[in-house]
């Protein structure tokens, strides 16, 4: 960090650090929300699709958009500030790149949800695809950082809700589109200059997490087509671990 010898300078760098921390927190929560949105979107059109799911999707989406708007504002204003010290600028650019990737994922997911709702309609419950999933989850709660969602839902589908949803979605997708375009216009971040911090291979989440996951996931990697039934192999696998 460059040396500064006046009080104003100190304030600047201090506030710069704070801005960085703020930005990082915002981007982290956006990443979390986008992950949840993706998770929810993958259930659309399947047998777990319901009004509740769509509500959760909507709420998650709104949260994502609000966050996105905040981050955009925050990062744009800081990156356009010419007096930003180099170290902070690099960090900001990293956040910027992460933010634009987030937006990309969100955009794709929103488009997919729009598309699916066109093919498989919620009103026609006989056409929902039997994907093998069951049960509700607290994914949305995680996204919205609420202990639990207010489960008040209506069982019947209000008339015209789907078409209203569609037009809202389309509007919001174009909004995200415009945000992406605006970003590219206003701030010029050279992607090939940005260097990430982390290693190539991510560490496991935590020892307990990964162990339990390994235990419960089926052994998908069969080396050669064997005639052994699936259960037998997992059986042996479990025995080895115990």
């Amino acid at each position: 960090m460059p040396l500064v010898n006046n009080k104003v300078g100190d304030d600047c760098t201090a506030s710069g650090d704070k801005a960085l921390a703020d930005g990082k927190a915002l981007v982290d929560s956006l990443i979390k929300v986008v992950a949840c949105y993706r998770h929810l979107a993958s259930c659309v059109g399947g047998c777990t699709d319901s009004l509740q799911l769509r509500n959760e999707l909507r709420q998650t989406r709104e949260k994502a958009q609000n966050l996105a708007g905040d981050i955009c504002h925050h990062l744009t204003s800081h990156l356009r500030d010419k007096s930003l010290p180099d170290g902070q600028r690099k960090e900001m650019e990293l956040l910027w790149v992460a933010f634009s990737s987030c937006l990309e994922l969100l955009h794709v997911d929103m488009c997919k949800v729009l598309n699916i709702s066109g093919i498989v309609s919620l009103a026609d419950s006989a056409s929902l695809v039997h994907t093998g999933l069951e049960g509700c989850s607290d994914v949305a709660a995680r996204a919205l950082s609420l202990p639990d969602l207010n489960q008040a839902q209506t069982d019947s589908l209000p008339a015209g809700l789907e078409s209203q949803e569609r037009s809202t979605m389309e509007l919001e997708i174009s909004q995200i589109d415009r945000m992406i375009d605006d970003m590219e216009m206003k701030v010029n971040v050279l992607r090939w200059m940005v260097e990430p911090h982390g290693p190539q291979y991510a560490d496991p989440l935590s020892s307990t997490d990964s162990a339990s996951m390994a235990l419960q996931s089926i052994d998908e990697e069969q080396q050669a087509p064997t005639s052994q039934p699936l259960c037998q192999r997992s059986h042996i696998f479990v025995l080895l671990l115990l």
Partner: protein, 450 residues
């Protein structure tokens, strides 16, 4: 046009067969008339909505009244396009008409909703898999992971963080659902990023053919375009006066005036050739040789110079090249006897290397066996006799004698209607002249102007 609209457009282009497949899929979900669902048992977990390959085929046969072969084919398509995925041996994307279990793919991963599977997505998937399996990826997955790490390096922190978050989100679900979600994702990526057998084999042949093509290209003669264009300009300037379209033809254009004098004057053999024609003999040696009269004149000249055998030889070789296949051997024999054999009546002077090569070739005669010798004599004549001919009195007299036809007077009444009738065919005019000479074929001299 926003990215959203562009992607919609791309997808809609390929929609029709995909839409049909989706209709089949949706029909299979019907609670009464749809597919029969079974439970999949894994250890202590029970996952619903599995179906056997045999059931799928049976349902297709019954629903669409098709034969088993067709049902098998249709089922295979559903698997290969990722609408149904196998639960046992997930890497083997075939539909087995037996008890093998399958499951429907969630619409999120359907082909029609498949936004181009992006690198970012794939990187996140591999990162997730890497975390879950603690580094145990397949070989090709490891390679691609490293490649992606280089390609989208700038956003790698995001990739890892997003992978973690997605895993955390899925932990909120029960075990059975987690398994299903993993299977779904794996099936999706097996279709969109299938393992490649060996990129080397694919590209080897391509590189090989490319190399050969490029080597050939290097060996070709190159001419600067300026030189090329200069030559073209010179040719155009030289021939401008001789072009009937640019300069008009004298006495008159037969197509307009219905007067065939022009063709008659330029037929193959005439008592007096036109001036333009004689001028053309001086443009190039080939012009002289391709004109029957020119050749005749040149022959007369060569006889005076005692080198007529060259032209005879050349003519004989032309006959071999362009004549009947059945007579080739006979003609080659004649040529050898008359021109090439030691002590022949009209022995031509060819260098020893070409002579040896030709004599070798005569042992197995074919159409082009005389090519080298003919080329040699052609250049001999071109460099030696031809320039002298052009300077000779014979040529100059011919030029002086040559006739310049008068332009026919145009009709006094320019707007008078002419009676239209079909013009005499130039082919007929030529045939008359040719019959006189005892040679068949069209009038090449007149014909060459068109």
């Amino acid at each position: 046009m926003s990215a959203f609209n562009a992607s919609l457009f791309c997808v809609s282009c390929a929609r029709a067969p995909i839409r049909q497949m989706e209709k089949v899929l949706v029909a299979m979900q019907d609670p009464d008339m749809g597919m029969k669902m079974r439970n999949q048992r894994l250890l202590i977990t029970v996952i619903p909505h599995a179906m056997t390959g045999h059931d799928i085929i049976t349902w297709l046969i019954q629903k669409y009244h098709i034969c088993e072969e067709e049902a098998l084919h249709l089922g295979e398509m559903l698997v290969k396009y990722g609408y149904i995925y196998p639960l046992k041996e997930p890497r083997c994307l075939v539909l087995r008409p037996d008890e093998s279990p399958y499951r429907f793919q969630t619409p999120y991963f359907w082909t029609s909703t498949r936004w181009p599977a992006s690198e970012l997505d794939y990187a996140i998937y591999l990162a997730k898999k890497n975390i879950r399996k603690q580094g145990e990826l397949m070989e090709y997955e490891k390679e691609r992971y490293s490649l992606l790490h280089k390609r989208i390096n700038h956003t790698w922190d995001f990739v890892v963080m997003q992978a973690r978050e997605q895993l955390r989100a899925s932990k909120q679900r029960r075990k059975a659902d987690r398994i299903v979600l993993e299977c779904q994702e794996q099936a999706y990526w097996l279709i969109n990023r299938p393992p490649v057998v060996s990129p080397l084999h694919q590209y080897c042949f391509l590189f090989y053919t490319n190399t050969i093509h490029l080597k050939r290209a290097l060996g070709r003669n190159r001419v600067k375009s300026s030189v090329c264009l200069e030559g073209f300009v010179k040719y155009s300037e030289q021939y401008q006066n001789h072009d009937p379209i640019m300069q008009g033809c004298l006495p008159s254009n037969p197509w307009i005036s219905d007067d065939i004098a022009y063709w008659m004057m330029n037929s193959e053999i005439v008592p007096v050739p036109t001036r333009l024609r004689v001028e053309r003999w001086s443009f190039s040696f080939m012009e002289l040789l391709s004109d029957a009269m020119g050749r005749r004149e040149f022959m007369t000249y060569l006889e005076k110079e005692f080198s007529a055998e060259n032209l005879h030889f050349w003519q004989a070789c032309e006959e071999i090249r362009h004549g009947e296949s059945s007579k080739i051997i006979e003609k080659v024999e004649d040529v050898y006897k008359n021109f090439l054999a030691p002590g022949a009546a009209r022995w031509v002077n060819i260098d020893s290397k070409t002579m040896d090569k030709t004599l070798e070739g005569i042992k197995r005669p074919h159409r082009f066996v005389m090519d080298d010798a003919q080329m040699h004599i052609y250049f001999l004549m071109k460099k030696d006799s031809y320039p002298r001919y052009l300077k000779s009195d014979l040529y100059k007299n011919m030029l002086a004698k040559a006739v310049v036809p008068q332009e026919t007077k145009k009709s006094v009444f320019p707007f008078m209607r002419r009676q239209r009738h079909s013009s005499p065919s130039p082919a007929q005019a030529g045939a008359q002249a040719a019959e006189e000479d005892g040679r068949a074929g069209t009038n090449s001299a007149a014909g060459s102007h068109f």
